[in-house]
């Protein structure tokens, strides 16, 4: 809200500098967003002068040499001037040596092209009063010679653009801000003097307003209407226009301007009707009828409905209550008789209607935030005073007041010690009392307590609905005392330390792992476009993860995976010519499962082709590289992937390439992993070049929270092992793990209790010459060991033979000799 300093000074003495006032406003709890200076600044040595003679400059075509009379300020001066818009006899502002014009422009006696000049004649821009730099400011009112220019120019003002917090609707007014500043500077607040007191004498002109009915008192608890007859509508006086202009309002006419002025003064919106345009001379405060229409002051036709409150005459709505008046019932040049409405409308009602119609005004803004109904009449009388003074006319009866202010009585009892306990430091009782009084929080009772210091009963004025509890007064005391005076202290931290949340621990661990493996950690947006989900995730995900009210089209869905964001990152870097290979990210993803969504923790990484040119080439990443990393990530979640069934991805779904990617886990068990080559077509369609390997591990946060079982130590033998190699020929499609498991089972059975199969691992995979079509050879290394002795060939050989015999017998596999 824009607040004028000149205006504030009507109510409170403010000798402080603009900076000090800004500081006061700031520490009172309002933000000063901007300080705007208007009108002329203080200018010394700038006076009114008259051009007596204008001669062409002997050495310059565009300059003139003038004789200028500044009267008592120094007589006739010779001044060189470049302007063209003046004539001999014009009176103009003259800056004499010693003047400092805006922009720190110092005026000195000088020589211009060999001609001495005793000063400068000024344009409006040079004086800092307007933007007009086209020529000299001609003072058409012909003020006396030598008059200081500030006495001639409109006075300057300082306008503060202040952001008022939503709890302080009382400060959406000059009186409200003045009250706060009065409290800060410990000055008296002077209210406007009011002459009108509601008494209209004996004149009653019921022909102007016959009746006021309020049909919806729940939305309009108070409605007042006063009638003023015989006004003359015309321009407002200059001071009023200047004030409105300063705070950003356009002057219209004296009646409208006074309404706005009093609204900005008291924070109470009001509306003036042309009494003769009220059909039936009646006012009805009612709900609009569905489909009813009104053309508002801004010239737009608005369709209303039955939840909206309107002010109507006998036939039609004339105002949308608390928001905006109708075009044809307002005050015009022809208006002579007025009805002045000052009312209270419920904030919920105004807010709903304003939002529904997408129509806001200074009035609706105030009603939505809360207007104090107890100042309604005061504001009405103030407006009537100003109307009578500046537009003439007479207040005539009858006046109407329908409904009434909800009775206001609020007291808070607070003790000195309570306030100090909440603050953590001592403020003297006298300072607290000063703070209360300064804010017009009247102390109605002061009582000593045995152990809590003085107890005050504080009366809360009606405009401070935000003060309701003792804690609210703590803030008031601190505001006026000054938050800058909170004393320093050392942090007290009695031991409470717990564990960090498991999701955070997991994210740290996997990120550290990946960064340690040369990945760059990325952060991508959570919201993704619908088409991407439909194309590369699933139709159900696209349906279930949609936002109700997306802001932009390409951010309409919750992300079901981190991989797509990482592809964005790859594309961006590629398009900028920055080689990017290894990227990773942790964050929340949203997984659709059985018709409901799960919010999951996730970690993902991509490995793109290394496009950087290097003096020595390293082997490229492949499926088994990402398998290695995904296994490490699973360990951080307490999951051993080697004990989990791994399923090759069949069919190109979820963006993974068939035959080159795999999955493990299920959301039914709280986690899932996917890894391998990303679908080539997807990667291409998303604008990323080259093959991209990726992995993602997703887990429910609550699953991470489950405590891990403590591992138990198992004894191991210190004696030498016995090794055997075995190559098995199987169908090319048979998974190696299936063969390994079969072999391990048979080996354990064959060794029995004599010794153990310590390890069995595939060390060679071969397909091609020497093997039948469609077959492959898997070579395994078996490690046998006994706990108590060195194994001999005599012991191991028969067992190894039995394993081979059992394998051939139990499966269709062949032993490769």
């Amino acid at each position: 809200m824009k607040i004028s300093l000149n205006w504030l000074k009507d109510y409170v003495r403010l000798d402080a500098s603009v900076d000090e006032i800004c500081r006061a406003v700031t520490f009172l709890g309002f933000e000063v967003e901007q300080v705007i200076r208007t009108g002329a600044p203080e200018l010394s040595h700038v006076v009114v002068g008259e051009v007596l003679v204008r001669d062409k400059h002997p050495n310059a075509d565009k300059l003139s040499v003038c004789q200028v009379d500044v009267g008592p300020a120094g007589g006739v001066k010779t001044i060189v001037c470049g302007a063209q818009n003046y004539q001999v006899g014009d009176r103009v502002p003259v800056a004499l040596p010693g003047a400092v014009l805006p922009g720190n422009f110092v005026i000195k006696q000088s020589k211009i092209r060999g001609q001495s000049s005793d000063g400068m004649m000024c344009s409006a821009k040079e004086l800092g009063v307007a933007e007009d730099a086209s020529g000299l400011l001609i003072l058409t009112d012909r003020p006396a010679l030598g008059t200081p220019i500030n006495a001639v120019l409109p006075p300057g003002d300082v306008v503060f653009d202040i952001e008022v917090t939503p709890n302080r609707p009382d400060c959406l007014s000059h009186l409200g801000i003045a009250r706060e500043l009065a409290a800060w500077f410990r000055q008296e607040l002077v209210y406007p003097e009011e002459k009108f007191n509601g008494d209209t004498g004996t004149t009653v002109r019921s022909d102007l307003l016959k009746s006021v009915e309020v049909e919806a008192p729940e939305d309009c608890p108070l409605y007042t209407a006063h009638v003023i007859a015989g006004v003359k509508v015309g321009p407002s006086p200059a001071w009023l226009q200047e004030r409105l202009t300063a705070v950003g309002l356009r002057p219209i006419n004296n009646i409208v301007d006074i309404g706005n002025y009093v609204m900005l003064e008291y924070g109470q919106p009001m509306h003036a009707f042309d009494a003769r345009k009220l059909g039936g001379q009646r006012i009805v405060v009612r709900r609009a009828r569905d489909g009813e229409k009104i053309t508002t002051l801004d010239g737009k036709e608005r369709a209303l409905n039955s939840r909206m409150l309107v002010i109507a005459d006998e036939a039609r709505p004339v105002v949308i209550a608390g928001i905006m008046g109708g075009e044809d019932s307002g005050v015009s040049e022809a208006t002579t008789d007025l009805v002045l409405e000052v009312a209270h409308f419920k904030r919920q009602s105004v807010r709903w209607t304003s939002k529904r119609l997408a129509l806001a005004s200074d009035s609706s803004y105030r009603y939505e935030r809360g207007v104090d109904p107890h100042t309604a009449l005061e504001a009405a009388y103030r407006a009537i005073d100003l109307i009578l003074e500046h537009a003439g006319g007479r207040a005539v009866g009858p006046s109407f007041k329908i409904g009434g202010e909800a009775p206001w009585q609020r007291e808070i009892v607070v003790t000195h010690d309570y306030i100090c306990e909440k603050l953590g430091f001592e403020i003297p009782e006298a300072d607290m009392e000063t703070a209360f009084r300064a804010l017009e929080l009247t102390i109605t009772r002061t009582e000593p307590t045995p152990a809590r210091g003085t107890a005050w009963t504080v009366n809360i004025p009606s405009w401070r609905d935000d003060l309701d509890r003792p804690i609210d007064l703590v803030e008031e005391v601190l505001r006026i005392y000054g938050t800058e005076k909170i004393p320093a202290a050392v942090v007290q931290s009695p031991g409470l330390v717990g564990d960090d949340d498991p999701v955070m621990v997991f994210n740290r661990r996997v990120t550290d792992y990946l960064v340690g493996h040369d990945f760059h950690e990325c952060v991508n947006y959570t919201l993704r476009p619908a088409a991407e989900l439909r194309g590369w995730v699933s139709q159900t995900a696209a349906a279930e993860l949609a936002l109700a009210n997306p802001f932009v089209e390409d951010q309409s869905h919750l992300r079901p995976t981190l991989v797509l964001g990482l592809l964005d990152t790859l594309r961006l870097n590629q398009s900028r010519g920055v080689p990017a290979t290894r990227l990773c990210e942790t964050g929340r993803v949203f997984v659709e499962r059985n018709g409901q969504n799960l919010e999951c923790a996730a970690v993902a990484f991509v490995m793109a082709e290394d496009t950087a040119r290097r003096w020595r080439q390293r082997p490229a990443a492949d499926f088994y590289t990402v398998k290695h990393h995904i296994e490490a990530l699973a360990v951080a979640a307490g999951i051993d992937l080697s004990r989990q069934p791994l399923v090759p991805v069949v069919g190109s779904y979820n963006g993974w390439q068939e035959g080159h990617s795999a999955a493990a886990g299920e959301m039914a068990h709280g986690w899932g992993a996917r890894f391998g080559l990303l679908n080539l077509a997807m990667v291409k369609s998303l604008g990323v070049e080259g093959k991209v390997y990726a992995g993602i591990f997703v887990i429910l946060p609550e699953k991470l929270g489950a405590g891990l079982e403590r591992r138990r130590y198992a004894d191991f033998s210190l004696l030498p092992a016995s090794w055997r190699d075995l190559a098995v020929v199987v169908d090319a499609a048979t998974p190696a793990e299936e063969v390994r498991k079969t072999l391990a089972k048979l080996a354990r059975a064959a060794a029995g209790s004599r010794f153990v199969l310590e390890n069995i691992a595939v060390f060679d995979v071969y397909q091609g010459a020497g093997l039948p079509e469609g077959k492959k050879s898997l070579a395994f290394n078996l490690v046998f060991r006994a706990p108590d002795r060195t194994l001999t060939d005599e012991e191991v050989n028969p067992v190894f033979q039995k394993i081979q015999d059992d394998l051939v017998a139990a499966t269709g596999y062949a032993i490769r000799k």
Binding site: P166, R469, A489, S493, L527, R588
Partner: protein, 347 residues
Amino acid sequence: MQDLLTALVAKAAAEFTSLQSRPAFEAAKARYVGPNGEFTGLMKQMAGVPKEQRPVIGRLINETKGQIQTLLDTALARIEAAEMQAQLGPAIDPTLPSPDPGPGTHHPLTLVREEMCRILRKVGFTVADGPEVETEFYCFDALNTPADHPARDTQDTFYLPESARFGNVSKKDPGERYLLRTHTSSVQIRTMLKGPPPIRIVSPGRVYRRDTTDATHSANFHQLECLYVDKNVTVRDLKALLDYIFESLLGKATKTRFRPHYFSYTEPSFEVDLSAQHLPKVKKEWIEIGGCGMVDPTVFASVGYDPEVWTGYAFGMGLERLAMLLYGIDDIRYFYQNDLRFLKQFA
């Protein structure tokens, strides 16, 4: 005999110095000291030496054996040294870059978050977390946000459709809507509902505002909030925490100030300004860095804590904003573009 032995040593010395490989060495060794070697042959002749000459000849043979062994050791050492040298290949150029990619980098938001968490952990705060999909109760109602507050507008807050169901985000009331949390304060509510005070948590996390993306706004960004609930917590304690945080983060020259403000969930409430003109690109004397206040009794009541007994403070700030300040970054979008030239600057 002596001549024979002397000649053998001379011959061995000549032969061994020219040995170039291990097989040649083994063959040469066999020729002298192997079962059929020349020296072995001479030793065998000892049997025919008269008894009285034996001590002399024996000493000679022992000396010769020692000399040959020394020659063999020397030759072997030379060959082994040559073998090791052969493993090495040409000398490296230490100035060539490593052809491996890397090193990896942590994102600047992670670095700032972790630094804050470390600072806070020293004074007893541990990390709490909560869902990003929230409900109206946890995000607004429990935080004393009135039902008609503009922050709850569909203008400003992302909502999920009425039909949306989240299996692992609990609702307080079955009728309430799911939304994307607008602040991490919802974590405070969930933490307080989970257990009794005292509580001292920091909750960093992602939040959402329905806002135009530009240099300073983003559809999602990150916040970090502190909550402390205990008996007799005061405004002065809160100020002490803020002073501690920013002195730890930015050095002793850093100052903070409180400006009274309004938040529905704290009373009194303050905005926190920071004076740290030693930071890059900081021109203003005071920079707004976050909001804080004493937990409003209404919030305690809504989580079942007795407001007469418990007191507390809360502080929240934007992580992007802090990172921008710390590093002198002037566009929030850089955090989400992940240009490697950007990411590599903070490792």
